[in-house]
């Protein structure tokens, strides 16, 4: 089977970011997506701590410790960008002003429930950050994750077993094997990478898939 690497997965998500979109990229793998959005598109990135038009990392020596992204990495501000406080930043999210958010996930259910903030390990302190606000607020929520755990357990399930981030919020799932849409009819495969077959992908999925139309 063809399994895309994280860079290739980010590149595939980038193809689905349209020109002119306001986008929030979650921490971790989703942050890589901006590296692959083609130069002929103008995309404005939002950072939850209060930035619109986040630019690339600064040159060494030019870092401002106040100017960081949600992943606490140093960033810059593009011309036309602006700052605002955290309450306004989350009004942007909850108010439906962001076109797309891309988040990582532990699990996604057949109904589009998302679990990405806590596992069932109570010893490990949870952290939720802005994930629940993005999940309910972004007009389209993309999930970017490996299709299975490292132990080959499915992460796409009939019901999530980990605590939920939001219910019925995921629109499209980008994995290392396929692209899958959450539709009223169920989970619809829209793209299989390389020669991956529908049956192979179904076998690694914990919910019934619908074949590509």
């Amino acid at each position: 089977m063809l399994r895309l690497n994280p860079e290739q997965m980010a590149e595939r998500v980038a193809q689905d970011i349209p020109d002119g979109a306001y986008v929030n990229l979650g921490i971790g793998m989703p942050t890589k997506v901006s590296n692959y959005v083609s130069d002929d598109k103008q995309v404005i990135y939002h950072s939850e701590n209060g930035i619109l038009a986040v630019g690339p990392a600064p040159a060494p020596g030019e870092e401002n410790p106040n100017l960081i992204n949600a992943g606490k990495q140093y960033v810059t501000l593009l011309p036309g960008g602006c700052y605002f406080d955290n309450a306004e930043s989350f009004a942007i999210m909850r108010g439906g002003h962001l076109d797309i958010a891309v988040l990582g996930a532990f699990q996604v259910s057949a109904k589009g429930d998302l679990a990405n903030w806590a596992t069932d390990n109570d010893k490990f302190p949870p952290a939720v950050g802005g994930a629940m606000d993005l999940a309910v607020g972004a007009r389209k929520l993309f999930v970017l994750m490996r299709h299975t755990t490292r132990e080959e357990e499915p992460k796409i399930l009939d019901e999530c077993t980990y605590p939920l981030t939001g219910t019925g919020v995921v629109r499209r799932i980008f994995t290392d094997l396929a692209v899958i849409d959450v539709t009223p009819d169920g989970l619809r495969v829209v793209e299989l990478f390389g020669d991956n077959s529908f049956e192979e992908v179904q076998a690694l999925t914990g919910a019934r898939l619908l074949p590509p139309v």
Binding site: P65, L67, A87, S89, F90, G130, D133
Partner: protein, 226 residues
């Protein structure tokens, strides 16, 4: 004559008692009042409730309060990050209670505490573990959770420039939670890089109006007339 300047960080936090609820501005490394936190640590008030987005990393900021055993509860959205060793240790041994709040709910609860609003309905967290035990409502088919204001006894705020009236500007994304916290505490104490004369701040650039501020301490105390 209004002059909110205080001569030292030590003096600015000297009346914070044991058991106080203290908001601390900042997000990651950005916009944190590190000198006020260090003064609070040396002051040594115990059984503090800390309200902040993160729980500190390494030995700095809120992590140093946790290390010294001064914190009994933390209200926070993202307590665990790379290097948050003191939070993780205190959480695991059970000496610190955690109230985990989604980030936008945290900032809005603080904002409404300063704005005199008794609560708000948010879709964030509906149907999740973080809404358990809270009132909910369905409006036009969409579920909402009732969230209540989150005020504090003291707010420790980091700003860029202030004046003797307490008007404040911020540096880039260092703004984050600071303006809401400034409005939501009984006593608001601000750490600034510099102080200018009343009238010298461009009123269009003032983000926090001085009415919310009680004390201003500058990293470098200039001799500026009130």
């Amino acid at each position: 004559m209004i002059d909110k300047r205080v001569a030292s960080f030590k003096e600015a936090v000297a009346d914070i008692p044991d058991g106080a609820v203290v908001m601390i501005g900042g997000f990651g490394s950005s916009g944190i009042p590190l000198k006020l936190i260090e003064a609070l640590r040396q002051h040594g008030a115990k059984r503090l409730t800390i309200i902040s987005n993160n729980a500190g990393v390494a030995e700095e900021g809120i992590a140093s309060l946790l290390r010294d055993g001064l914190v009994s509860k933390i209200v926070c959205s993202f307590p665990r990050s790379a290097g948050s060793v003191w939070f993780e240790k205190r959480f695991e041994e059970g000496s610190v209670e955690l109230e985990l709040v989604p980030q936008g709910t945290l900032s809005e609860r603080i904002r409404i505490a300063g704005a005199g609003i008794g609560g708000f309905l948010t879709p964030t967290g509906y149907g999740t573990r973080l809404a358990e035990g809270k009132e909910t409502r369905v409006i036009d088919g969409k579920g909402y959770v009732l969230e209540l204001p989150l005020p504090a006894d003291y707010a420790l705020v980091r700003a860029e420039c202030g004046d003797p009236w307490g008007n404040l500007t911020y540096n880039t994304a260092g703004r984050n939670f600071n303006p809401m916290m400034a409005s939501a505490a009984r006593v608001t104490i601000v750490e600034v890089t510099s102080v200018v004369k009343v009238g010298d701040l461009d009123p269009e650039r003032v983000v926090t109006p001085g009415i919310f501020v009680d004390r201003v301490v500058a990293e470098e105390m200039h001799h500026v007339e009130a």
